[in-house]
Protein backbone atom coordinates (compact mmCIF):
# COMPACT_ATOMS: atom_id res chain seq x y z
CA UNK A 1 0.00 0.00 0.00
CA UNK A 2 2.73 2.44 0.96
CA UNK A 3 4.63 1.60 -2.21
CA UNK A 4 1.53 2.21 -4.29
CA UNK A 5 0.91 5.52 -2.57
CA UNK A 6 4.50 6.55 -3.16
CA UNK A 7 4.21 5.61 -6.84
CA UNK A 8 0.97 7.54 -7.16
CA UNK A 9 2.54 10.64 -5.67
CA UNK A 10 5.61 10.22 -7.88
CA UNK A 11 3.52 10.00 -11.03
CA UNK A 12 1.40 12.96 -9.97
CA UNK A 13 4.53 14.97 -9.14
CA UNK A 14 6.17 14.16 -12.46
CA UNK A 15 2.99 15.14 -14.28
CA UNK A 16 2.84 18.46 -12.49
CA UNK A 17 6.52 19.09 -13.18
CA UNK A 18 6.04 18.42 -16.92
CA UNK A 19 3.09 20.78 -16.95
CA UNK A 20 5.15 23.44 -15.25
CA UNK A 21 8.05 23.06 -17.67
CA UNK A 22 5.99 23.14 -20.86
CA UNK A 23 3.62 25.92 -19.92
CA UNK A 24 4.51 29.49 -20.55
CA UNK A 25 3.82 32.30 -18.23
CA UNK A 26 1.46 35.19 -18.52
CA UNK A 27 0.02 37.65 -16.14
CA UNK A 28 -3.19 37.39 -14.25
CA UNK A 29 -5.97 34.92 -14.34
CA UNK A 30 -8.08 32.97 -16.78
CA UNK A 31 -10.19 35.02 -19.17
CA UNK A 32 -13.11 34.35 -21.49
CA UNK A 33 -12.62 31.49 -24.01
CA UNK A 34 -9.61 30.12 -22.17
CA UNK A 35 -9.46 26.68 -20.62
CA UNK A 36 -8.47 25.95 -17.05
CA UNK A 37 -7.27 22.57 -15.82
CA UNK A 38 -7.06 21.82 -12.12
CA UNK A 39 -4.96 18.94 -10.79
CA UNK A 40 -5.94 18.32 -7.20
CA UNK A 41 -4.80 16.25 -4.27
CA UNK A 42 -7.23 16.15 -1.39
CA UNK A 43 -7.98 14.86 2.01
CA UNK A 44 -11.36 13.19 1.61
CA UNK A 45 -13.61 12.22 4.48
CA UNK A 46 -16.99 10.50 4.41
CA UNK A 47 -19.56 12.02 6.79
CA UNK A 48 -21.93 9.09 7.18
CA UNK A 49 -22.66 6.28 9.59
CA UNK A 50 -19.79 3.87 10.26
CA UNK A 51 -17.36 5.98 8.23
CA UNK A 52 -13.77 5.60 9.35
CA UNK A 53 -11.03 8.15 8.97
CA UNK A 54 -10.63 9.74 5.58
CA UNK A 55 -7.75 9.47 3.21
CA UNK A 56 -6.53 10.64 -0.16
CA UNK A 57 -8.33 11.88 -3.21
CA UNK A 58 -6.85 12.70 -6.60
CA UNK A 59 -8.94 14.80 -8.92
CA UNK A 60 -8.78 16.41 -12.33
CA UNK A 61 -11.15 19.03 -13.65
CA UNK A 62 -11.12 20.89 -16.94
CA UNK A 63 -13.34 23.86 -17.67
CA UNK A 64 -13.85 26.46 -20.33
CA UNK A 65 -14.25 30.10 -19.37
CA UNK A 66 -17.55 31.27 -20.84
CA UNK A 67 -17.11 34.70 -19.31
CA UNK A 68 -14.22 36.18 -17.40
CA UNK A 69 -15.84 34.82 -14.24
CA UNK A 70 -17.76 31.69 -15.18
CA UNK A 71 -16.33 28.39 -16.34
CA UNK A 72 -18.01 25.09 -17.04
CA UNK A 73 -16.48 21.72 -17.64
CA UNK A 74 -16.06 18.22 -16.32
CA UNK A 75 -14.33 16.72 -13.33
CA UNK A 76 -13.26 13.21 -12.47
CA UNK A 77 -11.44 11.79 -9.50
CA UNK A 78 -10.69 8.90 -7.21
CA UNK A 79 -11.50 9.65 -3.61
CA UNK A 80 -10.89 7.28 -0.72
CA UNK A 81 -13.37 8.66 1.79
CA UNK A 82 -13.07 6.00 4.48
CA UNK A 83 -10.09 3.88 5.38
CA UNK A 84 -9.37 1.46 8.18
CA UNK A 85 -6.56 -0.99 8.76
CA UNK A 86 -7.89 -3.85 10.81
CA UNK A 87 -5.82 -6.95 11.50
CA UNK A 88 -3.87 -6.58 8.29
CA UNK A 89 -6.95 -5.90 6.20
CA UNK A 90 -7.38 -2.50 4.57
CA UNK A 91 -11.08 -1.72 4.58
CA UNK A 92 -11.65 1.22 2.30
CA UNK A 93 -14.46 3.01 0.58
CA UNK A 94 -13.51 4.70 -2.66
CA UNK A 95 -15.65 6.93 -4.82
CA UNK A 96 -15.15 7.93 -8.44
CA UNK A 97 -17.05 11.14 -9.14
CA UNK A 98 -17.81 12.01 -12.76
CA UNK A 99 -19.27 15.49 -12.70
CA UNK A 100 -20.28 18.39 -14.86
CA UNK A 101 -18.87 21.31 -12.95
CA UNK A 102 -19.48 25.06 -13.02
CA UNK A 103 -17.09 27.41 -11.32
CA UNK A 104 -17.60 31.09 -10.67
CA UNK A 105 -14.56 33.26 -9.94
CA UNK A 106 -14.50 36.40 -7.83
CA UNK A 107 -11.42 38.48 -8.40
CA UNK A 108 -10.04 39.97 -5.22
CA UNK A 109 -6.61 40.98 -6.53
CA UNK A 110 -4.80 40.87 -9.91
CA UNK A 111 -3.55 37.33 -9.36
CA UNK A 112 -5.89 36.21 -6.62
CA UNK A 113 -9.40 34.84 -6.99
CA UNK A 114 -11.98 33.16 -4.86
CA UNK A 115 -14.33 30.69 -6.50
CA UNK A 116 -17.57 28.87 -5.86
CA UNK A 117 -18.38 25.45 -7.32
CA UNK A 118 -21.61 23.73 -8.25
CA UNK A 119 -21.49 20.30 -9.85
CA UNK A 120 -23.77 17.42 -10.73
CA UNK A 121 -23.28 13.98 -12.16
CA UNK A 122 -22.68 10.40 -11.15
CA UNK A 123 -20.72 8.76 -8.36
CA UNK A 124 -19.31 5.28 -8.72
CA UNK A 125 -18.92 3.65 -5.32
CA UNK A 126 -16.12 1.11 -4.85
CA UNK A 127 -16.39 -0.44 -1.39
CA UNK A 128 -13.81 -2.89 -0.07
CA UNK A 129 -15.28 -3.35 3.39
CA UNK A 130 -15.55 -5.76 6.26
CA UNK A 131 -18.88 -6.45 7.89
CA UNK A 132 -20.11 -2.89 8.29
CA UNK A 133 -21.72 -1.01 5.44
CA UNK A 134 -20.66 2.61 5.29
CA UNK A 135 -23.50 5.08 5.00
CA UNK A 136 -25.74 2.15 4.13
CA UNK A 137 -23.62 1.20 1.11
CA UNK A 138 -21.85 -2.12 0.88
CA UNK A 139 -21.90 -2.77 -2.87
CA UNK A 140 -20.40 -1.10 -5.90
CA UNK A 141 -22.96 1.03 -7.64
CA UNK A 142 -23.45 4.18 -9.68
CA UNK A 143 -25.49 6.88 -7.97
CA UNK A 144 -26.67 10.36 -8.97
CA UNK A 145 -25.41 13.28 -6.93
CA UNK A 146 -23.64 16.58 -6.88
CA UNK A 147 -21.34 18.87 -5.02
CA UNK A 148 -20.87 22.42 -3.85
CA UNK A 149 -17.65 24.07 -2.85
CA UNK A 150 -15.59 27.18 -2.30
CA UNK A 151 -11.92 27.89 -2.74
CA UNK A 152 -9.28 30.29 -3.88
CA UNK A 153 -6.71 30.47 -6.65
CA UNK A 154 -3.40 32.24 -6.60
CA UNK A 155 -2.05 32.70 -10.12
CA UNK A 156 1.43 32.86 -8.81
CA UNK A 157 3.17 31.77 -12.01
CA UNK A 158 1.05 33.69 -14.48
CA UNK A 159 -0.68 30.93 -16.41
CA UNK A 160 -0.12 28.52 -13.58
CA UNK A 161 -1.67 28.78 -10.21
CA UNK A 162 -1.91 27.21 -6.82
CA UNK A 163 -5.11 27.02 -4.91
CA UNK A 164 -7.11 25.31 -2.28
CA UNK A 165 -10.74 24.46 -2.00
CA UNK A 166 -13.34 22.78 0.12
CA UNK A 167 -15.89 20.65 -1.70
CA UNK A 168 -18.88 18.91 -0.20
CA UNK A 169 -20.17 15.96 -2.21
CA UNK A 170 -23.47 14.20 -1.74
CA UNK A 171 -25.28 11.47 -3.57
CA UNK A 172 -28.19 9.11 -3.23
CA UNK A 173 -27.17 6.10 -1.18
CA UNK A 174 -30.33 4.13 -1.76
CA UNK A 175 -30.74 4.15 2.02
CA UNK A 176 -32.62 6.59 4.21
CA UNK A 177 -29.94 9.28 4.27
CA UNK A 178 -27.81 10.79 1.52
CA UNK A 179 -24.20 9.66 1.34
CA UNK A 180 -21.90 12.61 1.80
CA UNK A 181 -18.20 13.32 1.94
CA UNK A 182 -16.02 16.36 1.82
CA UNK A 183 -12.70 17.07 0.20
CA UNK A 184 -10.14 19.61 1.37
CA UNK A 185 -8.07 19.98 -1.74
CA UNK A 186 -4.89 21.60 -2.92
CA UNK A 187 -4.95 22.41 -6.62
CA UNK A 188 -2.35 23.06 -9.24
CA UNK A 189 -4.04 24.97 -12.05
CA UNK A 190 -3.12 25.65 -15.63
CA UNK A 191 -4.58 28.15 -18.05
CA UNK A 192 -4.65 27.10 -21.68
CA UNK A 193 -4.97 30.00 -24.13
Amino acid sequence: MELKTFKTFSIAGALLLCCAVYSGTALGQAAKKQYVADFGAAFTQATVTKAQRGMLGLDLSVGKMFTNSLSAGVAVGYDIASFQKNEGIYARFAIVPLLAKAKYYFTIAPAMQLHAIVAGGAYQTIPHLGTDAIGGISKADIRPGGSIGVGFDWWIFGRQGLGAEFEYNFFDSGAEDMFSYFAVRVNYSLIKM
Binding site: V48, K50, A109, A164
Partner: protein, 204 residues
Amino acid sequence: MTKFSIRALIVLAICAAGLSGCSQEGTLVIHNSASTEFNGFVDGTQVTIDPSHSYEATVYIGKSLAVIGPDHVPVVVEGSATTKRPFSEEVTIKSGETTTFQIADDTGALIFTNIHLRTVTAVATRACDSLAWGSNLLEAGRIIPPGSTRTIQLGAGCWDLKVTFDPDELIDIVSDIPIETGQVIEIAWDTTFVYTPPPTAAAR
Protein backbone atom coordinates in the same frame (compact mmCIF):
# COMPACT_ATOMS: atom_id res chain seq x y z
CA MET B 1 -1.16 39.50 -0.95
CA THR B 2 1.42 36.92 -0.01
CA LYS B 3 0.53 37.33 3.65
CA PHE B 4 -3.14 36.87 2.79
CA SER B 5 -2.37 33.66 0.90
CA ILE B 6 -0.34 32.26 3.75
CA ARG B 7 -3.07 33.11 6.23
CA ALA B 8 -5.68 31.50 4.01
CA LEU B 9 -3.59 28.34 3.75
CA ILE B 10 -3.12 28.24 7.52
CA VAL B 11 -6.85 28.63 8.08
CA LEU B 12 -7.58 25.86 5.58
CA ALA B 13 -4.99 23.58 7.19
CA ILE B 14 -6.46 24.17 10.66
CA CYS B 15 -9.95 23.55 9.34
CA ALA B 16 -8.82 20.35 7.63
CA ALA B 17 -7.13 19.11 10.79
CA GLY B 18 -10.18 19.92 12.87
CA LEU B 19 -12.66 18.45 10.44
CA SER B 20 -10.83 15.16 10.19
CA GLY B 21 -11.48 14.36 13.85
CA CYS B 22 -15.25 14.57 14.08
CA SER B 23 -16.00 11.04 15.21
CA GLN B 24 -19.43 10.52 16.69
CA GLU B 25 -19.99 7.99 19.43
CA GLY B 26 -22.77 7.09 21.81
CA THR B 27 -23.15 4.72 24.71
CA LEU B 28 -25.60 1.86 24.88
CA VAL B 29 -26.51 0.38 28.25
CA ILE B 30 -28.65 -2.73 28.30
CA HIS B 31 -30.06 -3.50 31.71
CA ASN B 32 -31.51 -6.92 32.32
CA SER B 33 -34.46 -6.32 34.61
CA ALA B 34 -35.82 -9.75 33.85
CA SER B 35 -35.61 -12.43 36.50
CA THR B 36 -33.60 -14.77 34.25
CA GLU B 37 -30.40 -14.63 32.22
CA PHE B 38 -30.55 -12.87 28.84
CA ASN B 39 -28.79 -14.38 25.85
CA GLY B 40 -28.64 -12.58 22.55
CA PHE B 41 -26.83 -10.25 20.22
CA VAL B 42 -26.18 -6.53 20.47
CA ASP B 43 -25.08 -4.94 17.20
CA GLY B 44 -23.89 -8.35 16.05
CA THR B 45 -21.93 -9.10 19.23
CA GLN B 46 -23.03 -12.06 21.31
CA VAL B 47 -23.81 -11.09 24.89
CA THR B 48 -25.04 -12.78 28.05
CA ILE B 49 -26.45 -10.63 30.84
CA ASP B 50 -27.29 -11.96 34.28
CA PRO B 51 -30.47 -10.79 36.02
CA SER B 52 -30.13 -7.28 37.50
CA HIS B 53 -26.88 -6.75 35.60
CA SER B 54 -26.05 -4.43 32.73
CA TYR B 55 -24.05 -4.55 29.54
CA GLU B 56 -22.44 -1.35 28.35
CA ALA B 57 -20.92 -0.66 24.96
CA THR B 58 -19.61 2.34 23.14
CA VAL B 59 -21.24 2.50 19.75
CA TYR B 60 -19.37 4.16 16.91
CA ILE B 61 -21.78 6.24 14.88
CA GLY B 62 -19.61 7.71 12.16
CA LYS B 63 -17.96 10.92 11.07
CA SER B 64 -19.61 14.29 10.80
CA LEU B 65 -18.71 17.76 9.70
CA ALA B 66 -20.35 20.42 11.88
CA VAL B 67 -24.07 19.84 11.34
CA ILE B 68 -23.49 17.58 8.34
CA GLY B 69 -23.30 13.90 8.98
CA PRO B 70 -24.85 11.36 11.29
CA ASP B 71 -25.72 12.06 14.90
CA HIS B 72 -27.43 8.76 15.51
CA VAL B 73 -27.31 5.18 14.39
CA PRO B 74 -29.71 2.27 14.82
CA VAL B 75 -28.47 -0.77 16.71
CA VAL B 76 -30.30 -4.08 16.73
CA VAL B 77 -30.77 -5.82 20.08
CA GLU B 78 -32.12 -9.34 19.81
CA GLY B 79 -32.33 -12.41 21.98
CA SER B 80 -34.41 -13.96 24.72
CA ALA B 81 -34.47 -15.08 28.33
CA THR B 82 -36.38 -17.81 30.05
CA THR B 83 -38.94 -15.21 31.10
CA LYS B 84 -38.57 -12.96 28.04
CA ARG B 85 -39.91 -14.03 24.70
CA PRO B 86 -37.54 -13.86 21.71
CA PHE B 87 -37.42 -10.32 20.38
CA SER B 88 -35.52 -8.15 17.94
CA GLU B 89 -35.65 -4.40 18.42
CA GLU B 90 -33.89 -1.45 16.88
CA VAL B 91 -32.45 0.99 19.38
CA THR B 92 -31.36 4.46 18.28
CA ILE B 93 -28.02 5.54 19.71
CA LYS B 94 -27.45 9.29 19.74
CA SER B 95 -24.09 10.96 19.63
CA GLY B 96 -22.69 11.88 23.04
CA GLU B 97 -25.64 10.39 24.85
CA THR B 98 -26.22 7.27 26.88
CA THR B 99 -29.17 5.22 25.71
CA THR B 100 -30.56 2.69 28.14
CA PHE B 101 -32.50 -0.32 26.95
CA GLN B 102 -34.42 -2.34 29.50
CA ILE B 103 -35.04 -6.05 29.19
CA ALA B 104 -38.13 -6.88 31.21
CA ASP B 105 -40.04 -10.05 31.87
CA ASP B 106 -42.99 -10.54 29.57
CA THR B 107 -43.80 -14.16 30.31
CA GLY B 108 -43.50 -16.91 32.86
CA ALA B 109 -41.91 -20.27 32.19
CA LEU B 110 -42.16 -23.92 33.01
CA ILE B 111 -38.94 -25.85 33.16
CA PHE B 112 -40.21 -29.26 32.31
CA THR B 113 -38.02 -32.24 33.12
CA ASN B 114 -39.16 -35.66 31.97
CA ILE B 115 -38.31 -38.11 34.75
CA HIS B 116 -40.63 -40.76 33.30
CA LEU B 117 -39.24 -43.76 31.42
CA ARG B 118 -41.12 -42.86 28.25
CA THR B 119 -40.56 -40.07 25.79
CA VAL B 120 -42.83 -37.04 25.86
CA THR B 121 -43.96 -36.27 22.31
CA ALA B 122 -46.19 -33.25 22.91
CA VAL B 123 -47.07 -30.72 25.53
CA ALA B 124 -50.17 -28.56 25.25
CA THR B 125 -51.81 -26.07 27.56
CA ARG B 126 -55.17 -24.49 28.17
CA ALA B 127 -56.41 -21.86 30.53
CA CYS B 128 -57.83 -23.42 33.68
CA ASP B 129 -61.31 -22.16 32.82
CA SER B 130 -61.18 -23.34 29.21
CA LEU B 131 -62.09 -26.64 27.59
CA ALA B 132 -60.04 -26.30 24.43
CA TRP B 133 -56.40 -27.36 24.34
CA GLY B 134 -53.86 -25.30 22.49
CA SER B 135 -51.42 -26.63 19.93
CA ASN B 136 -48.28 -28.59 20.76
CA LEU B 137 -45.76 -26.27 22.44
CA LEU B 138 -42.77 -28.35 21.39
CA GLU B 139 -41.20 -27.33 18.12
CA ALA B 140 -41.96 -29.52 15.12
CA GLY B 141 -40.08 -32.81 15.39
CA ARG B 142 -38.92 -32.09 18.92
CA ILE B 143 -39.55 -34.49 21.79
CA ILE B 144 -38.52 -34.70 25.41
CA PRO B 145 -36.63 -37.95 25.97
CA PRO B 146 -36.40 -39.42 29.46
CA GLY B 147 -34.11 -37.30 31.62
CA SER B 148 -34.30 -34.26 29.32
CA THR B 149 -35.53 -30.79 30.07
CA ARG B 150 -37.42 -28.23 27.99
CA THR B 151 -38.35 -24.67 28.82
CA ILE B 152 -41.93 -23.76 27.98
CA GLN B 153 -42.88 -20.09 28.12
CA LEU B 154 -46.37 -19.31 29.39
CA GLY B 155 -48.10 -16.01 29.95
CA ALA B 156 -49.45 -15.04 33.35
CA GLY B 157 -52.52 -16.99 34.38
CA CYS B 158 -53.73 -20.38 35.50
CA TRP B 159 -52.87 -23.24 33.18
CA ASP B 160 -53.63 -26.90 32.71
CA LEU B 161 -50.93 -29.01 31.12
CA LYS B 162 -51.52 -31.94 28.78
CA VAL B 163 -48.55 -34.26 28.36
CA THR B 164 -48.61 -36.82 25.55
CA PHE B 165 -46.06 -39.62 25.74
CA ASP B 166 -44.97 -42.67 23.78
CA PRO B 167 -45.47 -45.26 22.63
CA ASP B 168 -49.23 -45.30 22.58
CA GLU B 169 -49.95 -41.55 22.75
CA LEU B 170 -50.88 -41.87 26.38
CA ILE B 171 -52.00 -38.66 27.97
CA ASP B 172 -51.47 -37.17 31.39
CA ILE B 173 -53.05 -33.94 32.55
CA VAL B 174 -51.63 -31.69 35.23
CA SER B 175 -54.17 -29.16 36.41
CA ASP B 176 -54.18 -25.74 37.97
CA ILE B 177 -50.70 -24.39 37.56
CA PRO B 178 -50.78 -20.67 38.40
CA ILE B 179 -47.97 -18.69 36.88
CA GLU B 180 -47.02 -15.02 36.95
CA THR B 181 -44.92 -12.95 34.61
CA GLY B 182 -41.29 -13.48 35.52
CA GLN B 183 -42.03 -16.65 37.48
CA VAL B 184 -40.24 -19.88 36.68
CA ILE B 185 -41.82 -23.14 37.81
CA GLU B 186 -39.81 -26.34 37.66
CA ILE B 187 -41.73 -29.50 36.99
CA ALA B 188 -40.18 -32.93 37.32
CA TRP B 189 -42.85 -34.79 35.45
CA ASP B 190 -43.91 -38.42 35.56
CA THR B 191 -47.42 -39.81 35.35
CA THR B 192 -47.99 -39.35 39.06
CA PHE B 193 -47.03 -35.70 39.08
CA VAL B 194 -49.46 -33.32 40.75
CA TYR B 195 -48.68 -29.65 40.87
CA THR B 196 -48.38 -28.37 44.41
CA PRO B 197 -47.95 -24.63 44.80
CA PRO B 198 -44.90 -23.67 46.81
CA PRO B 199 -45.73 -22.49 50.34
CA THR B 200 -46.28 -18.76 50.56
CA ALA B 201 -44.23 -16.62 52.93
CA ALA B 202 -47.21 -16.29 55.27
CA ALA B 203 -47.68 -20.06 55.43
CA ARG B 204 -44.02 -20.57 56.21
